[in-house]
């Protein structure tokens, strides 16, 4: 379990990007990290991976502070950045060089991911792959190292539509109850039917943390001719898209985009 204890961070003094965040990221959950551009999503991912140190508070993984970057901690965390560069070496060589550091690396999972993504295992020069292909290779490696914590910064950017669907299937297939996944992104459509929890950045640097199952039990999401009595409403063709306090037992899927807007506007706390 990753415990975030009252963490605050800012690149400049008195300008916090993350403010007083406290929550627990539990095993077997997939967290969606949503926020506007520059809100602090990448910053939070770097804090969780130990690449940045909190100004206050602590982030503890299995009793150890992640900022210490001990070998045991690093073996449990994999951070996939939004932008990265591969050296001009073969895929086989890169895997051979990097996989030795991860004790639970699985070649079978790597091969399965590469085949599903349409990337052959005999890539001679990783530097010559397109942006989307590089993401697929990185994703395959991220899933194959089987770390407890998988942090992915906008993994779907640059991927074509079929690849996004493949990504979702591979993530679900190769994520078990012992793993915690945090995915940041802009497009809520990419994350629907994938997430179990959401972390939404507000304007002031605070973060809304919610379990989608609980939110689905508390609110209903739909379209209404009028927005009267709704917790949150926004106009759409045909009326209003609304969030209402749930009054019946009928389940509705959480509309991530509406939830995101409602949290950002302070309607849902």
């Amino acid at each position: 379990m990753l415990e975030i204890g009252n963490v605050s961070f800012g690149y400049e003094k008195n300008v916090p990007v993350v403010r007083n965040l406290s929550c627990r990221l539990q095993e077997g959950r997939i967290y969606g990290l949503l926020g506007m551009n520059g809100a602090g999503k990448t910053t939070l991912l770097k804090l969780l991976s130990g690449l940045l140190f909190p100004d206050s508070g602590s982030i503890i993984l299995d009793g150890k502070d992640v900022s210490k970057r001990s070998v045991e901690t690093l073996q449990k965390i994999f951070y996939m950045p939004s932008e990265f560069r591969f050296p001009g070496i073969s895929l086989e060589k890169l895997i051979g060089l990097q996989s030795v550091f991860y004790p639970y690396f699985s070649l079978e999972i790597l091969m399965d991911c590469l085949e599903s993504s349409g990337i052959g295992s005999e890539v001679k020069d990783l530097g010559k792959l397109s942006g989307g292909q590089k993401k697929k290779v990185m994703l395959a490696f991220a899933l194959s190292v089987r770390t407890n914590i998988l942090l992915m910064d906008e993994p779907l950017d640059g991927m074509d539509i079929p690849s996004r669907d493949i990504f979702r299937k591979l993530l679900v297939k190769h994520t078990d109850e012992s793993r915690t996944v945090v995915i940041s992104g802009h497009r809520t459509q990419d994350m629907e039917n994938l997430l179990t929890d959401v972390l939404i950045f507000r304007k002031d640097g605070t973060v809304f943390a919610g379990c989608l199952e609980e939110l689905s039990g508390r609110y209903s999401f739909g379209v209404d001719r009028t927005g009267a009595g709704a917790v949150y409403a926004e106009p759409c063709p045909g009326g209003f898209r609304v969030i209402r306090e749930k009054e019946t037992s009928e389940d509705t899927d959480v509309d991530l985009e509406m939830l995101f807007n409602a949290v950002r506007k302070g309607v849902i706390r």
Binding site: L51, F53, F101
Partner: protein, 241 residues
């Protein structure tokens, strides 16, 4: 208790070396071979004087290459584009630092050894062509670069190891936003002033040659220790801002 794994350190060193600019060892060896031959041919053809004088110039050129150009090149490559992306690789801080140092020192030492072999061969043939029969005596080792001066090769290799700590000077740039450029360049200036103070005092007649040599050796060792300690400290505090 923290443990240091030589195996993990060496794996990390291999990872850095493979990801450097010269990703192919074959290409790297070919480039170094060309540079060494150039360092031999240039003085051979352009410098007036006996062949031993030409060899001295070649030795100085190769020293500049392995003691300054290579470590700085590798240090910059590592701190910017290679070491930083590998911060999340599960290896200890000491292991990563030792690996980064080795990844800078190994190419320099390898080039120095290659220079002795290749360069000596070039001068042996040059000696055949440019000297009289009586002066050309291949058995005396007169055409062996560095080695002809006795223990000079060992000294050169030691200087390579010490100069590779220049990567420690590059590590401060890892601090990015947390590091102020005036402070960095001031530190470099102080470093160079302290290092060359005995030589300057010798030239001014304040110190004798032997006293200057001993002082330089002591100062170099102290600066080396400070370099290593400070770089480890910086690596511990490095953030990917």
């Amino acid at each position: 208790m923290k443990t240091f794994s030589f195996r993990r350190m060496w794996r990390f060193c291999r990872l850095l070396l493979e990801q450097m600019c010269f990703c192919s060892f074959g290409k790297a060896a070919a480039v170094m071979l060309a540079v060494i031959v150039f360092c031999c041919l240039l003085p051979l053809l352009a410098v007036d004087g006996a062949i031993q004088e030409k060899m001295s110039v070649t030795e100085e050129l190769i020293k500049v290459l392995v003691m300054f150009i290579l470590p700085v090149t590798y240090g910059l490559a590592m701190s910017g584009g290679v070491l930083v992306p590998n911060l999340m690789i599960p290896a200890g801080r000491g292991e990563k630092f030792a690996a980064a140092y080795l990844a800078a020192a190994i190419p320099g030492a390898a080039v120095a050894v290659m220079a002795v072999i290749i360069g000596s061969g070039v001068y042996w043939f040059g000696g055949l062509l440019m000297t009289t029969d009586s002066a050309h005596d291949p058995g005396t080792g007169q055409y062996l670069l560095f080695v002809r001066n006795g223990a000079a090769l060992w000294r050169t290799l030691l200087e390579v190891c010490i100069s590779s700590t220049v990567i420690a000077m590059i590590l401060p740039v890892l601090r990015n936003n947390g590091y102020r450029k005036p402070g960095f360049w001031f530190g470099v200036l102080v470093y160079l002033l302290v290092l060359f103070a005995p030589a300057s005092m010798m030239m001014a007649g304040v110190l004798s040659r032997s006293a200057a040599q001993v002082s330089t050796a002591v100062i170099s060792c102290l600066l080396l220790a400070v370099n290593v300690w400070y770089s480890c400290f910086l690596m511990k505090r490095y953030e990917l801002r």
